[in-house]
Symmetry: none
């Protein structure tokens, strides 16, 4: 690709770190090179390396131990990646389980939003409503992702993202008129806080998708 005029340095470093981790096959919980070493290897100042590392740390991708080094995060959350990953590749029942679990997450997020005046009032729902109405480009998972993000459970988000990658038939086909109708009911119910109606239309929506 054409090298763009020197994008953000620390973003570049984040990418290089990513490559380095892949090349050297550094696993979860394993140690990364020291800041000074990275600074030398990547030919940048140590403070730039640190800015990149701090970003990754805030994202929970690495752990740092004062005096001990920097490690690829091996926390709870990341174990679920393995769980879901190793779980698949079995029978049809497994796939059904993935779907069921994903839908459980989505419904739970909808419940949380419905029961919170603040979350219900977010302008994003109206935006989605309008987008559906105008027939604008909109992926199903965008709405659901937003629901889960807003619901505030980061662990649930991580699990859901994993589940999503194993049920990629979600945005396969076009959004039909029937689906639009159900989606609008869902979004409207969400904003009004009508929990029962929201869950109801969500379930109908899923039925429509699976046809």
């Amino acid at each position: 690709m054409e090298d763009k005029p020197a994008k953000k340095m620390f973003i570049q470093i984040v990418k290089q770190l990513h490559d380095l981790i892949a090349e050297q096959n550094i696993q979860e919980g394993q140690k990364l090179p020291s800041e000074r070493m990275l600074s030398e290897q990547l030919q940048v100042g140590r403070s730039s390396v640190r800015e990149a590392l701090r970003s990754l740390e805030l994202l929970g991708l690495i752990e740092t131990r004062h005096g001990g080094g920097t490690y690829l995060a091996s926390m709870q959350h990341h174990q679920f990646v393995e769980i879901v990953g190793s779980f698949i590749l079995q029978d049809e029942k497994s796939i059904a389980d993935v779907h069921a679990t994903r839908e459980m997450h989505e419904k739970e997020a909808i419940r949380i939003i419905c029961q919170s005046d603040n979350l219900r009032a977010l302008p994003i729902w109206q935006s989605f409503f309008v987008m559906v109405e105008l027939g604008q480009e909109l992926k199903r998972e965008d709405i659901l992702r937003e629901c889960i993000i807003v619901s505030g459970n980061r662990l649930a988000l991580k699990i859901w993202l994993q589940l999503l990658s194993f049920s990629n038939n979600l945005s396969a086909n076009e959004i039909t008129e029937e689906e639009k109708m159900e989606l609008k009911i869902l979004l409207a119910s969400l904003q009004m806080g009508y929990l029962h109606e929201a869950i109801d239309s969500y379930e109908k929506w899923m039925v429509i998708i699976k046809e």
Copy 2:
């Protein structure tokens, strides 16, 4: 021990930035104080301020213009408060997330059981009921595990078992009389298929446990 006064500086700064934005009511797209000014105001080095700012930039919460200043990102969806809040509280929030996710699995299992005549009719529920009544040795997670196993989602079971290992305060103390009462209501509702009552008593049960 549990005291952790020495939190990450750059996380502290992120918090202070968050407060500052709230105090001065800085809106989307508006300018933040310069790095040097923040450094002086917060009484920390400029490099520390930058580490915090770079973190927020990677999250897309702020925009930086070389020579022009730092601005609050104009984001339609994600509210600054929501995201920062969920990333800041890391430790405590993570634990809360684990609990919330575990409870989501348990409630879902209860729902599934309630809505299936076959599952409702399993003799195990009556056995649990009797055990509670007689005050026999019985761990809380035994009941919940059974619920999830019976619900038939093996993936959910795997996830739940993992979650359980991170919230081992479940069987900490003795089962009180109050708790026994609620548990019996739960088990009775389960057998009768009273979904609403079952979920209700489950939630009350959780409240009792957390006291």
